[in-house]
């Protein structure tokens, strides 16, 4: 007989809830439904792979600072790898988005999976924008001066000053990556919890998807 005081502990309740929601065979499955054998399902994991490269190259750039790439061949190479992994990230993410949109991937209780993906997309746009502002070159100055009027017109300019390099760099390397990575983790966990959305034909008649 288990001690009821132990049963009431938040650690016990949380562990049981996690064990019930995410059994190991669901978190790391051996097989996938046959309809997953399609190229369209590759773009989600390609987005994740690109994100790993974005974070890794970003961390390497952070070691030497935002102006390193102007004076170092290695820094320029890593900066370019950072840029091109972002290009692959958005390329794959948009195709992933198109695929999921036409599959109506929010069906079957997957609305939170869809919404976390959509908000991650918007967060990534902000991260890319602040990345452009952190280049420490004429391009970043041009983008900042062009963007300030639009940002100021929204009223957000008093707390989000695109002309402030220090602020934009911190948003780019701390705040937005934290949000994007957190949402990505929740998104992937939800995909594991609910499974991949089945094709329309696989939903039995009479079942509200």
């Amino acid at each position: 007989m288990t001690d009821p005081r132990i049963e009431r502990q938040w650690t016990t309740r949380l562990r049981k809830r996690v064990e019930g929601t995410f059994p190991p065979e669901k978190v790391l499955p051996d097989t996938q439904p046959s309809y997953v054998a399609s190229w369209i399902y590759v773009f989600g994991v390609l987005t994740l792979a690109a994100l790993v490269m974005v974070i890794a190259t970003g961390c390497a750039l952070a070691i030497m600072g935002p102006t390193w790439w102007h004076v170092s061949g290695l820094g320029h190479y890593i900066n370019s790898t950072h840029l091109w992994s972002v290009e692959v990230f958005f390329f794959a993410m948009v195709i992933h988005l198109w695929g999921k949109y036409f599959m109506a991937a929010w069906r079957g209780g997957r609305s939170m999976t869809w919404m976390t993906g959509a908000v991650t997309f918007l967060t990534s746009i902000g991260a890319a924008f602040t990345g452009y502002l952190s280049q420490t070159n004429f391009d970043s100055q041009w983008i900042a001066t062009q963007a300030k009027d639009g940002i100021n017109a929204t009223g957000a300019g008093s707390v989000f000053n695109v002309l402030n390099l220090g602020q934009m760099l911190m948003w780019h390397i701390v705040l937005l990556p934290l949000v994007a990575l957190g949402l990505t983790a929740v998104h992937v966990i939800l995909v594991r919890k609910r499974g991949v959305v089945p094709p329309f034909a696989d939903v039995p008649e009479g079942v509200v998807a």
């Binding site: 390329f91 195709i95 695929g99």
Partner: protein, 59 residues
């Protein structure tokens, strides 16, 4: 010793950008090419067979 010329862009970027204008819409050639490539990749992903897949009639 840094040799910046070794890392110069393959394409000459020292000129104003080229844009496609259509009414109020305006997109650079570079962005238009990327959008076309995304559409091509999307259609190819739907049509091309996935390698190594054998339908075993279930999951």
């Amino acid at each position: 010793m840094v040799h910046p010329e070794r890392f110069a862009a393959l394409f000459n970027l020292s000129h104003p950008g080229h844009f496609i204008s259509w009414g109020v819409l305006q997109v650079s050639y570079g962005n238009a090419v990327v959008i076309v490539l995304m559409v091509v990749a999307f259609v190819a992903a739907l049509l091309l067979p996935f390698p190594g897949h054998r339908d075993k009639g279930g999951r």
